[in-house]
C-alpha cells in the first residue's frame, strides 16, 4: 500500500511514541546514508529514533593494507586503474592520488571496460577491484576478458553477522542495501533475526523503510521486507551471481574498522590466476606488505563504521580531517559517514 510522505511521517511519530524506548536503526548502504542526509530525514525523526550509518561504504571498509599494495604497485612502475573515489584514501605511506603526483601511472576509470581498453596499451596494468556484490560481477566479467585485478571485493551478509555478534553495537533494525540486494536477493537476509527492510534511494523509500521497521518492532516481528520491488527480487540476479561464483571464491577478509571477518572476502580462483595480481606480482606484493609501516592516527573511522560513535565525536572531524584533506576513508568517499556529515551537517 502506498502511503504519502505526510502519512508516513505521522505513522513514524505515532509508532515511535507507542514503542517508547530509544531505538537505533542502521542503514547499511553508503548511498542510503547520503539519501538520509540529502532529504533531511534525521531532522524528521522522533526523539527516540536514531539513524546510524553502518559499514556499507565499500571504499570506507577497504583495508589500509589493500591501499598500500596498490600504492606500492604504482610506485614500482606498474600502471594501475581505479574507480575515482579510491584516489584520496590515505594509505600508510600515501594515497593513490599522491602516488600519481609522484609520477606513478595511476588512472581513474568510471567503468571497468575502460580499464580493459587501457590494459591493451599499458601491459601489466592492475585494476583495483573493490566493492560489494554490485560491482563484483563487473570485475568478474573483466577478469574473464583477461584484465589483471587486485581483489579487495567483499560480500555483505558476513558483515551483518559480525555487527550482530558485537554486543557493544545496539541496533534495533537494519535498512538493507538496494543495489547489493538486486544481485543477492532478499532471501539471504532471512538468517538474521532482526527487523530488516530493503529499500531504494529516494526519500519516500527511506521513510517507508523506517515506518516498516517501526511496525515490525511494535508487533515484535523480525522479518525481511522489501520496498524496492521495482528491482529487487527474492533470489536476486542469478546470472550475476553465477558469474561471480565462477571467477571468485570466498576467503577471509580484513575490513577497516571491523577487523578480520571470516568468509567475507572474495579472492580470484586459481583458474584465473593469470589475472590475479597476487599471483602475477606475488613477490613484489609480498615485499610491499613486509615494508608497510603502520602510521599512527587518531582517526576513528573504525568506530564510526560500526555505529559506535558519530563522526562529530572524532577529535579530527572538521578540524584536520575534511573532504579536501581526509585523514580516513570515511571522509574520502562521498558516501562515507564523515564526508556526508561534513557536507550536510547531519545532526
Amino acid at each position: 500500500m502506498k502511503l504519502d510522505k505526510q502519512k508516513l511521517l505521522q505513522s513514524i511519530q505515532e509508532k515511535a511514541k507507542e514503542i517508547g524506548r530509544p531505538l537505533r536503526l542502521m542503514e547499511l548502504c553508503g548511498t542510503h546514508s547520503q539519501s538520509i542526509a540529502q532529504h533531511g530525514i534525521n531532522s524528521l525523526m522522533p526523539k527516540n529514533v536514531k539513524l546510524v550509518s553502518g559499514p556499507g561504504c565499500p571504499v570506507c571498509v577497504t583495508d589500509q593494507t589493500d591501499v598500500d599494495v596498490m600504492v606500492g604497485l604504482a610506485l614500482a612502475g606498474i600502471p594501475v586503474a581505479v574507480y575515482g573515489d579510491t584516489m584520496q584514501v590515505p594509505g600508510n605511506l600515501m594515497s593513490l592520488e599522491e602516488a600519481r603526483r609522484n609520477g606513478a601511472d595511476v588512472n581513474v576509470v568510471y567503468d571497468i571496460t575502460e580499464a580493459i581498453k587501457m590494459s591493451q596499451e599499458k601491459t601489466g596494468l592492475v585494476f583495483f577491484g573493490l566493492g560489494f556484490e554490485t560491482t563484483t560481477g563487473m570485475t568478474a566479467w573483466a577478469i574473464q576478458q583477461g584484465l589483471i585485478v587486485y581483489s579487495a571485493h567483499k560480500i555483505f551478509p558476513p558483515a551483518m553477522s559480525a555487527l550482530l555478534a558485537n554486543k557493544q553495537i545496539k541496533v534495533d533494525g537494519f535498512i538493507n542495501p538496494g543495489h547489493v540486494s538486486s544481485i543477492i536477493g532478499t532471501k539471504v537476509y532471512e538468517q538474521f533475526k532482526i527487523p530488516q527492510v530493503v529499500t531504494g534511494f529516494d526519500g519516500e523509500g527511506m521513510l517507508s523503510a523506517i515506518e516498516m521497521l517501526l511496525t515490525q518492532i511494535l508487533e515484535n516481528k523480525a522479518i525481511v521486507q522489501n520496498v524496492y520491488t521495482d528491482l529487487v527480487k527474492k533470489d536476486g540476479n542469478p546470472k550475476a551471481r553465477k558469474l561471480i561464483a565462477e571467477v571468485f571464491e570466498i576467503s577471509d577478509a580484513h575490513w577497516r574498522g571491523l577487523g578480520e571477518i571470516k568468509k567475507s572476502g572474495l579472492k580470484i580462483r586459481k583458474k584465473y590466476k593469470k589475472c590475479d595480481a597476487e599471483f602475477v606480482y606475488a613477490e613484489l606484493i609480498a615485499k610491499i606488505k613486509k615494508e608497510i609501516k603502520p602510521k599512527p592516527s587518531a582517526c576513528k573511522c573504525g568506530l564510526v563504521l560500526q555505529g559506535l560513535i558519530e563522526s562529530q565525536e572524532c577529535p579530527l572531524f572538521g578540524k584536520v580531517c575534511t573532504p579536501d584533506n581526509p585523514q580516513g576513508a570515511c571522509m574520502v568517499s562521498v558516501e562515507g559517514s564523515c564526508n556526508v556529515e561534513f557536507r550536510y551537517n547531519r545532526k
Binding site: 573515489d85 554490485t134 560491482t135 560481477g137 538486486s182 544481485i183 534511494f201 528491482l231
Partner: protein, 84 residues
Amino acid sequence: MRDAHFCIRSYLADKNGMCLAIPGKILKIKGETAEINFNGIRKEVNIAMVDVKIGDFVMVHAGFAIEKMVPDLASEIQGYLDKK
C-alpha cells in the same frame, strides 16, 4: 508503486554515491553490449550480467546493467519518456 516521474527524478537527482544506478531502455543489442536510452541520452552498456531483449528496462551502474526492472515500472517510465 511509485509514479514514474518521481522515480526518474529521484534516480537522476543524486549523481554521487557508489550505488548510484540509472534506469534505461534497451534499443539495440550487439553481443554483450546494448545501446540504452537514458531519458534521451544514448549510451552503450555492458549486459553480460542480465538476460534481456530489446525494449526491456534495466538498472545501470558503472557501465553495466545490474538487473532487469519489472515490466509495470518499465511501462510507466516509458509512458513518462514518451510524453517528453
